[in-house]
Symmetry: C2
Subunit: 276 residues, 2 copies
């Protein structure tokens, strides 16, 4: 299965088509679409090399940008994915922003205000570790705003992402999905390993209790905000090596399709001889 | 004419109703809707007192905000209007932002990026001296982006302003209209008066040459982006005292309708006796 054709179509297999229905209870977070670990790691390295070269061209071209959004339940592997993807990118021209609980200043503005500020400039890549989607996830699950307020946000987000797209930003959104058992194991590992214990938060357990509420919120998010230009990719993330392969492959294909070009040199520059 | 009823309806007279057609060539920039200068100045002072009180309540309430957008051709009186309106507002809780030629950093982002950053936080008033509307005005007239790019901006702007409205910001937009003769006189006065000469820019004359292109761009802007929640007010601005009255009246009516309330004190606070 791990031939070129299978690899080429991974994007299509994982993309949430607009209008499709999502049932996470029946989604297999172990799935690897026929990939074996050894093949995957070889191909992963290839994708990373492609990403490195394409990002340099994106930066040199300076005309378009790439926004990468990562969402997932606690312990789904957002941080690990970012480390892996960032390995491929030159930090100049790539920013990572983690969106945590909003500050009081941020809460004084609309929920997209702080997000908009961190969107990538032309030539750049921006990676969001959590994002405006928390405003239809944790905000919904905890009832932080009334139902009619979070419900209209799907439209607002689609409108706003459309603006970004039309103005030159390509958007790719990844939802890393691990199942309940996998989350239990990962949280337990954080508790058992003294070096990981700092990652465990007292809120992780009450949040886990809300699994079904989150599941419903995730499904709605995927169904209502996966658009042609800003699609969601639903990544089976129990296996970290497959998760990394999937994200790297989608990004490499995205940048390949964008086909950024080094800008042409000024005419006559090839005749210049630097004087001694 | 300067009775209470006429005053009450000034907002309605000046508001650009969604779907209406605008013909600035036939618009009388001298018009005062029956107001005489002396009456106007008395009422102006009343409006300012209302604005002062209402803004304090808006700030104390801390739940909603007011965005005031000022646009107009060169010398239409944007600066003078802001000085007048700002007189009424407490500078704490009110920001003024002038949007000039974008910086190279700003140009690396979508055109609403720098604007969004300056929108008012809850409890605050923000005044924009020029705004995102320059991206369908000067940008259009000078052909800085292709036609299909500026044409889709009307929709993008409406979507974005709708987001702000839904999230708690009331938007009022003022287009100050002076006619060609009045502009000539004001520009000439800037040249003739040594104390005003700094206001005259070498670009003012070539810009004046483009009067008809700007007129068309203004008309399209007024027709396409005056919405129920974020209406344009078309202000006859040849007479400064009428312009000030009109803007102050619309703002006072807007804040009156918002009816901001001082937040209730904590229960039991009335029984507190401060100890010696």
């Amino acid at each position: 299965m791990a031939d070129r054709d299978a690899r080429r179509s991974l994007s299509q297999l994982l993309r949430v088509e607009p209008g499709s229905r999502i049932d996470l209870d029946r989604f297999d977070a172990q799935r690897t679409h026929g990939w074996k670990r050894e093949d995957a790691e070889l191909h992963q390295a290839e994708q990373e090399a492609r990403l490195t070269e394409l990002q340099e061209r994106l930066w040199a071209e300076g005309k378009r940008s790439l926004l990468i959004v990562l969402q997932g339940i606690d312990a789904a592997g957002k941080d690990g994915t970012i480390r892996k993807v960032m390995d491929a990118f030159n930090p100049q021209g790539c920013t990572v922003t983690g969106f945590k609980v909003p500050s009081s200043e941020e809460l004084r503005h609309d929920y997209l205000w702080r997000i908009h500020h961190h969107t990538p400039g032309k030539g750049s890549v921006a990676i969001f570790n959590r994002s405006h989607y928390e405003d239809v996830l944790i905000v919904r699950v905890h009832g932080l705003v009334p139902r009619d307020v979070w419900r209209r946000r799907y439209r607002q987000i689609n409108d706003w992402e459309r603006l970004l797209t039309e103005e030159g930003t390509v958007i790719r959104k990844f939802f890393l999905y691990i199942d309940r058992d996998e989350q239990r194991e990962r949280l337990q590992a954080r508790i058992d390993d003294p070096n990981k214990r700092w990652k465990f938060s007292a809120s992780d357990l009450p949040e886990r209790e809300k699994w079904d509420s989150y599941r419903k919120a995730f499904e709605d998010m995927l169904e209502k905000t996966s658009t042609k230009d800003a699609p969601w990719y639903l990544i089976p993330a129990n296996r970290k090596w497959f998760r990394n392969l999937a994200v790297s492959t989608v990004l490499a294909e995205t940048l390949t399709a964008m086909d950024p070009r080094y800008p042409p040199a000024d005419p006559g520059i090839e005749d210049i001889v630097i004087p001694r």
